[in-house]
């Protein structure tokens, strides 16, 4: 149980990586805000073409997945490997929901002939969400690796830094979306 009292949880190297990633997103958000300030009308007009229902489903999917990941960490701290694996798989399936729904949006935009060059709003919308999409993918790779390692019995109540490390990264992916969703889809 000692490891769980350590702060920050998980590996320090991962936290440096998370901070660096957040910095990239922060820059992207700032660039978005800067461009929007110069093109308010354009941004507002094309914002209405986005599918907020899909984005809401995705928001719920990611929040739920973060809850599942949290349960997985709580279980491994109690030495419950089987439950930990179940929660991780549940989180992964929520990640898959996100990817499927988001891909559906991309297909819709693509068939409407929209690409990075269409206008500044779409450039940011596609860049930001796709960059985030890749992070969901990377997060799922990390969660999968943890799931496999838990299944192999590598983690326990005393040694589960890996689970905490992966969970930290996943929460970062979630938090970024919680900013991205209102910023790009909702805010006027």
């Amino acid at each position: 149980m000692n490891a769980s009292k350590e702060y920050p949880p998980g590996d320090l190297a991962m936290w440096i990586f998370i901070l660096a990633e957040l910095l990239v997103f922060a820059l992207f958000f700032a660039a978005y805000a800067f461009s929007r300030a110069n093109n308010v009308e354009l941004f507002n007009t094309f914002q209405q073409t986005l599918d907020t229902d899909s984005a809401l489903i995705n928001t719920l999917a990611l929040i739920t997945s973060s809850y599942f990941v949290m349960r997985a960490v709580a279980d491994i701290r109690q030495n419950r490997q089987v439950e930990c694996i179940r929660w991780l798989l549940a989180a992964l399936s929520m990640g898959a929901v996100f990817l499927i729904v988001k891909s559906g949006e991309y297909v819709h935009h693509y068939s409407a002939g929209i690409n990075l060059r269409t206008n500044t709003f779409y450039m940011f919308y596609l860049s930001l969400t796709f960059f985030h999409f890749m992070h969901v993918l990377l997060g799922m790779v990390i969660l999968s690796a943890i799931t496999v390692k838990t299944w192999l019995g590598d983690y326990s109540a005393t040694e589960h830094t890996g689970v905490e490390t992966g969970a930290s990264y996943w929460h970062m992916v979630d938090i970024v979306w919680l900013i991205l969703f209102p910023l790009v889809y909702i805010m006027k």
Binding site: A13, F17, V24, L27, L116, S127
Partner: protein, 459 residues
């Protein structure tokens, strides 16, 4: 030296140092031609001297990387090199091909060289840094493939470590991206677009993996810090390198006719490129502070720390200075680029190769771990002479670049290029003086190999 076959690294390192000296001699000639335009003309025109200066740099760094890999991989894999004979054969092929190419540059006009080497069969010549005749490029591919085969087989049959795998990924990437030097479309936009896949994805992509793994190896050896700790840092550093470096290619796409979104993608991602270099600095100092032993080769530790600092300054800080597209709009292709190029190449790649040479050479020459104290003092002198003079070269070129950007492009009354060149002449003179000091430092470095004496004990 733990494995007999590591010895093949030695000729590679010697060739690297030899070509390094050649590169710097041409650098000093070039520096003078900036202010005395017809110096050595028509024997060595400016464009030829520049080609020799940059090509020698690339070739000797490649010798250095290959030597480093031949030394590092057997030790990491805990097995003898797959084929030492092949490594030696490739050494001679590469050296002869390199020497003939440079002689070709110097002896005949470039157009004649192109004709002599059958460039019209597969035209690849005439582009900056990729001036080599097609036949030389094919030779480089053959050498690279044989090298990768040799290294790959060694890793496959032995212990697989993070350090050797990262090195292998970097080396494979180096070979793969070089293939774009054979793609030479008529469309100038496409030409530039893919030209950067060699140039940028080398130095701001896969070469950084090579740098990271060599640095990690030397730090494991000299500090005695747990491999697990060092490997974790290496993972994070290379992940950040690839995320920022690959999309950061966009900072070359601002003004070549590529789509506009590259202004944003290039600016945002390349602005992040200093991060992995900063991590490398924190990493190197952290590991040395947590050292479990005081390695007798203090010169190698100095070079390792120097690499981390100078790579961050040269590649990170000086790169960031002109990477944002609104700034690059004014600074593009000025002496600011030259300032960045000098310190980045020196700080990241020259210094990492010397770090490896400094660490490995004493063992390759039959010592237990280090050169004599006296030899190390001389080597450290060369470190400071070269590093400080490089800092000055960079500062003078930066001053020249800022002034050039301002007078030639930013004022209400912009002046023509050559008028501006005369105005910034003083900085070129000062750069030349710093360049001569660098050459002296390099001679001091070469001298340190000839100073004997007893090996210091491990403290």
């Amino acid at each position: 030296m733990k494995y007999q076959s590591q010895a093949v690294a030695k000729p590679y390192f010697i060739a690297a140092i030899g070509l390094f000296i050649g590169q710097i001699v041409f650098g000093v000639i070039l520096g003078l031609q900036y202010v005395v335009g017809d110096f050595l003309f028509p024997e060595i025109p400016f464009n030829v001297a520049r080609m020799v200066h940059t090509n020698l740099l690339i070739v000797w760094l490649l010798f250095g990387f290959m030597g480093a890999a031949y030394y590092l991989v057997p030790e990491e894999s805990e097995t003898e090199l797959h084929s030492p004979g092949l490594a030696i054969l490739m050494f001679w092929i590469f050296l002869v091909a390199g020497a003939l190419t440079v002689l070709g540059y110097l002896m005949v006009p470039y157009a004649t060289l192109a004709e002599m080497t059958g460039n019209e069969l597969l035209p690849t010549m005439g582009r900056e840094f990729l001036e080599q005749p097609t036949i030389t490029k094919l030779g480089i591919v053959v050498v690279a493939l044989a090298f990768l085969f040799n290294i790959g087989m060694t890793i496959l049959k032995g212990r697989k470590t993070v350090v050797s795998l990262v090195l292998l990924i970097g080396l494979v990437g180096l070979a793969v991206f070089f293939l774009f030097s054979f793609y030479n479309p008529d469309n100038l936009v496409k030409d530039k677009y893919y030209w950067w896949w060699v140039v940028h994805l080398w130095v701001e992509g896969v070469w950084e993996l090579i740098l990271g793994s060599i640095l990690a190896f030397v730090l494991i050896k000299t500090t005695g810090v747990d491999r697990e700790v060092i490997e974790k840092w290496l993972y994070v550093i290379i992940a950040m390198t690839l995320i920022t470096g690959i999309i950061g290619t966009g900072h070359h796409y601002y003004w070549i006719g590529a789509p506009e979104y590259w202004q944003w993608w290039g600016s945002i991602f390349s602005a992040m490129e200093p991060i992995p270099f900063f991590m490398m600095t924190v990493f190197a100092f952290n590991m040395v502070n947590r050292r479990r032993r005081n390695h007798p080769n203090q010169a190698a530790v100095l070079w390792a720390l120097g690499t981390a600092v100078m790579a961050f300054l040269g590649a990170g800080v000086w790169g960031f200075m002109h990477t944002l597209s609104p700034i690059n709009y004014y600074t593009h292709g000025t002496q600011i680029t030259a300032a960045h190029g000098h310190m980045a190449f020196y700080g990241a790649y020259v210094m990492i190769v010397i770090t490896m040479i400094s660490y490995a050479m004493p063992m390759l020459r039959g010592r237990d771990a280090a050169n004599s104290g006296k030899s190390q003092v001389i080597e450290m002198w060369s470190f400071w002479l070269m590093t400080v003079s490089m800092v000055f070269i960079t500062l003078f070129l930066t001053a020249a670049g800022v002034l050039q950007t301002y007078i030639q492009r930013y004022t209400d009354d912009p002046q023509p290029f050559m008028v501006v060149q005369e105005k910034i002449e003083i900085f070129y003179w000062m750069r030349e003086v710093a360049g001569v000091v660098f050459l002296i430092g390099l001679v001091v470095y070469a001298t340190s190999f000839f100073i004997g004496g007893k090996e210091p004990e491990e403290a």
